[in-house]
């Protein structure tokens, strides 16, 4: 059985509309492009405030970082009139935190531990 990644998309209203992508499964060399593709579709459909719920990620490799980088590049011009959108992370699992900490990148992402707090921060 190969790696699987499920991406559940929902919308919440904080100060602004926020699109939540809830990931469940593995984010590796096999599945990372699925995340990039899905996020790209959402951004092309007009969303510019994205929150990634990473609590259900059982495994993440550096390909996951590649996906997040690709998405962040798209977000830079995803807002109205090409302005910057926002991208934040919610509850990274141990597997996700391990990659961030090993690379020392945990300080470069906007990470939240509480959904309400995350939504209000947009």
């Amino acid at each position: 059985m190969s790696s699987t990644l499920r991406i559940a998309v929902s919308e919440e209203k904080g100060n602004v509309p926020v699109t939540i992508l809830q990931l469940t499964g593995d984010l590796d060399g096999k599945t990372y492009s699925e995340l990039e593709t899905k996020a790209g579709e959402i951004i092309n459909a007009g969303a510019s405030n994205l929150l990634f719920d990473l609590s259900g990620v059982g495994f993440m490799g550096s390909a996951g970082m590649r996906a997040l980088h690709g998405i962040s590049n798209k977000i830079k011009t995803a807002g109205p009139n090409g302005s910057a959108g926002q991208m934040k992370l919610l509850n990274p699992s141990d597997a996700v935190s391990r990659v961030f900490k090993t690379l020392g990148f945990d300080q470069h992402f906007n990470i939240h531990r509480d959904l309400d707090e995350a939504l209000k921060s947009f």
Partner: protein, 139 residues
């Protein structure tokens, strides 16, 4: 007393999960704790992913993993017949550049596996294959 287990796979991204399952099963039986298992798992996945994506992008290669567990350490030996490449001599990425400002995404795989295990070594086998060995201490 040491234990040895083997896994052979085709160099295909579909087989990454099988590799990780193999590592989890073998390290659990060797007594490696949860955190160290996670680190070794990440290291092996990075190494195997690099072989598949960069060493054999067109497919048709084979990867052999050998696990050895003794009271002091777990050793994973990865042999493959992909393009000969020594990942231990790759330059480290510049981690001072924030990840979201790098021009090219990625490039962290080699850095990751070298910093997640206690020893890394590479050689070319007599039959012309790559052989990468990763060692993770039990304590």
């Amino acid at each position: 007393m040491s234990q040895t287990r083997h896994l052979e796979i085709a160099a295909d991204l579909d087989n990454l999960k099988q590799v990780r399952d193999f590592i989890e099963e073998t390290t659990q039986s060797a007594g490696l704790n949860h955190e160290r298992t996670g680190e070794l798992l990440l290291a092996v996945d990075e190494a195997v992913t690099n072989i598949i994506m960069h060493g054999c992008p067109g497919g048709g290669c084979a990867i052999e993993l050998e696990f050895r567990g003794n009271p002091d350490a777990c050793t994973i030996r990865i042999r493959d017949n992909a393009t000969l490449f020594d990942p231990t001599v790759m330059p480290a990425p510049n981690l001072d550049i924030p990840p979201l400002e790098r021009d090219v995404p990625g490039g962290f795989g080699v850095y990751l596996f070298e910093h997640l295990v206690d020893q890394t070594s590479y050689r070319t086998t007599p039959d012309g294959r790559n052989e990468l060995t990763l060692l993770k201490r039990i304590n």
